[in-house]
């Protein structure tokens, strides 16, 4: 039998990072992410790896990008205010195609907000936070076991695609303890970055192969628009490189899509949720089914590139999609776009620092169903056309 451990989400994240081969952490303390840092401050040196506490979050993200070019697998963890500060560095990591992982334990915002209250208000920032079009992958997790797995996957995707990967968890997942089967080496796939066949003549921005500094080639890295050699370009050449960079992530939307499904096969109501909110959503499915409503859950683990096709598939089979989030309606915009008017979409938001309850989600679903029935099919599809 697998050995089991009772761990917090943040503990799972820290250990998963080491499992994935993370050998460099730079960070700045912030609630509710600090346990990740505290654990790694002890565990990384014990494995001969690097841990450093930096002077702020800007320095932290900058240091992990530098360390990646020094040859390390790198992580930083933060929360809302620190994540805002890191946007500058995330943009640099994106344009320099630097593999790195950023964990954001979401808390209630904006600004200092409520540091010890969970939220899902950073979804759009994770996707669009830094200026300019840019490639980024955003993942999430709804329980401690997922947090472990998605942390390892975040590293894998960062390495494979040379891209910053953001893992969004939240205060509740970060601090809750759950028993999980503790992964042994080999249980989860760990991907290492591809090295170029030959160091000599290495072109740093010509593909997914990555060579660190001091490994047999000399090259230039810059945050300016650049060509395959790393030197500045403009006009059509700059557009071409940006399209390649963004395209390498967006074109892999299907391959990158990860989701769990619960009772979706025969569903007439689809709840599309993610992160901590997938849990009351799952319980809401049971409540609705007990009321005779065939509900199902699509639990998204990849938030960006947004898995349109998975939502589209649900929208083709249900009359109603319910989108619960701990914010005032962020991912629901993507869901509405993907549903493209094929079904009604009801947003359910909560921003008082508490979790949505199963009853709240189920009540909203029932209410939306009643409203839909009242309006009638014709009107409903007319409304759908506005998208």
């Amino acid at each position: 039998m697998k050995s089991q451990r009772l761990v917090q989400g943040n503990e799972a994240c820290a250990h998963a990072a080491m499992y994935a081969g993370c050998n460099f952490y730079a960070g700045y303390p912030i609630t509710p992410s600090s346990e990740v840092m505290e654990i790694l401050s002890y565990e990384l040196p014990a494995r001969g790896r690097v841990f450093i506490q930096m002077e702020d979050e800007i320095a932290s993200i900058s240091a992990i990008i530098g360390a990646a070019w020094g040859g390390a697998k790198t992580l930083t963890a933060t929360s809302g205010p620190g994540f805002s500060l890191m946007q500058e560095g995330i943009g640099y990591a994106a344009i320099t195609e630097t593999p790195c992982v950023i964990v954001n334990c979401q808390r209630w915002g904006p600004s200092t907000g409520q540091p010890t209250k969970g939220a899902q208000g950073d979804v759009m920032q994770a996707i669009w936070g830094t200026h300019g079009d840019h490639p980024v992958i955003v993942l999430t997790a709804s329980n401690v076991r997922d947090t472990f797995e998605m942390t390892v996957r975040a590293f894998n995707l960062a390495e494979k695609h040379r891209v910053p990967v953001i893992l969004l968890i939240d205060e509740v997942v970060a601090h809750m303890r759950e028993n999980i089967d503790w992964p042994e080496p080999g249980d989860l796939e760990v991907i290492e970055r591809a090295r170029p066949a030959e160091a000599k003549g290495f072109r740093p921005f010509a593909g997914d192969a990555f060579l660190p500094f001091g490994a047999g080639a000399r090259f230039h890295v810059t945050g300016l628009a650049h060509g395959p050699e790393g030197f500045a370009v403009s006009d059509e050449a700059a557009a071409k490189e940006l399209r390649r960079m963004v395209g390498k992530i967006m074109d892999r939307k299907v391959e990158l899509a990860m989701a769990d499904r619960y009772l979706l096969e025969d569903a007439e109501v689809g709840i599309v949720a993610y992160g901590i909110t997938a849990r009351p959503a799952q319980a809401a499915v049971d409540l609705l089914r007990a009321e005779g409503v065939r509900a199902g859950l699509l639990n998204l683990k990849t938030l960006w590139p947004f898995p349109d096709h998975l939502v589209a598939e649900v929208s083709e089979r249900v009359g109603l999609i319910v989108s619960p989030e701990l914010n005032m309606g962020q991912l629901v915009r993507e869901i509405e776009r993907a549903a493209a008017g094929r079904c009604a979409v009801r947003a359910v938001g909560r921003v008082d620092g508490h979790l949505l309850t199963p009853a709240q989600i189920a009540t909203e679903a029932m209410d939306a169903l009643r409203a839909g029935a009242d309006r009638g099919m014709a009107e409903r599809s007319a409304e759908g056309v506005r998208a």
Binding site: M54, G66, W69, G71, F219, F231
Partner: protein
């Protein structure tokens, strides 16, 4: 000095972007001479820069080069050096880069004492953005954001570095070529965080706005606003060369203000790792 430094240039990336009369080229030449004379392995040298006129330096240098974000060069360099201590990491920053937007990283790098060489190309102005006020612009001087003269007190980067705890602190000017090259050799060889404040000329902006527009006059300006070479390692300290006293006389003193042997961060971290690994081994 031979033409040996040319092998460290990316000829294809020349010409550089700097204006006629800019002191940056002189600094770069001294840097390349220093690297050549120290016999550093070209592949193991990393030059990291921030944003601004100085930030464009790495483009033309045939090392591993990284042009980072405004003010953060030291933070990137910290990551590179800790990830691979075999690399010789030289950081080039502008004065605004290092002490305004990057001021936090600068003081903490001084405190941390990681083995990095920080070269500040200090022209007392924001050049690349068109001549705005820098934290190093002397009081009373004009810039495009202080058209009637600055009322701000400037930073003295040497005193800032000393106060923040840097182990090696020196200042020179870009026209003092031989002194500059020899100080760079000392700074690069220093094991720990070494800071060089290199006063350089910007005739285009600082000069034009402050009646020293001719490159030749700018060199005179640098000569006339600095005091003679001072070396803290040569025993006697002349009061006039003390940075505080010289500052009061409106002269920037040049020379070496601190050169102390102390354990660098990498050494301390290595020892911490050894202890942690040992603790782990004895626990299992």
């Amino acid at each position: 000095m031979s033409e040996g430094y040319r092998k460290f240039l990316r000829m294809k990336q020349l010409p550089h972007v700097w204006c006629p009369g800019c002191g940056n080229g002189m600094i770069v030449k001294a840097l390349l001479e220093a690297v050549g004379e120290l016999g550093l392995e070209q592949d193991k040298v990393v030059v990291v820069s921030g944003i601004g006129c100085s930030g464009r330096t790495p483009f033309v240098l045939d090392f591993n080069t990284m042009h980072t974000t405004h003010g953060r060069a030291l933070a990137f360099a910290t990551g590179i050096k800790l990830a691979n201590p075999e690399l010789k990491v030289i950081v080039i920053m502008g004065d605004g880069d290092a002490s305004a937007i990057g001021g936090n990283h600068f003081i903490h790098s001084c405190r941390r004492n990681l083995d990095l060489t920080a070269l500040i190309f200090n022209n007392g102005i924001y050049g690349l953005t068109g001549g705005q006020l820098a934290p190093t612009t002397p009081t009373g001087k004009r810039s495009t954001t202080t058209p009637t003269g600055s009322i701000d007190a400037p930073f003295d980067l040497v005193r800032l570095a000393l106060g923040a705890g840097a182990g090696f602190v020196a200042r020179t000017t870009s026209f003092d070529h031989k002194v500059m090259a020899s100080l760079m050799k000392r700074a690069i060889s220093y094991r720990g965080f070494a800071v060089m404040d290199i006063l350089t000329s910007c005739p285009t902006y600082f000069g034009r706005m402050n009646e020293v527009a001719e490159p030749y006059d700018m060199v005179h300006y640098l000569r006339d606003t600095t005091s003679a070479m001072h070396d803290c390692t040569c025993g006697e300290t002349d009061e006039a060369e003390d940075p505080v006293v010289a500052g009061a006389a409106a002269l920037m003193s040049t020379g070496v203000f601190r050169d102390e042997a102390r354990e660098d961060y990498g050494t301390l971290y290595g020892r911490k790792v050894a202890a942690a690994v040992e603790r782990q081994r004895s626990a299992t």
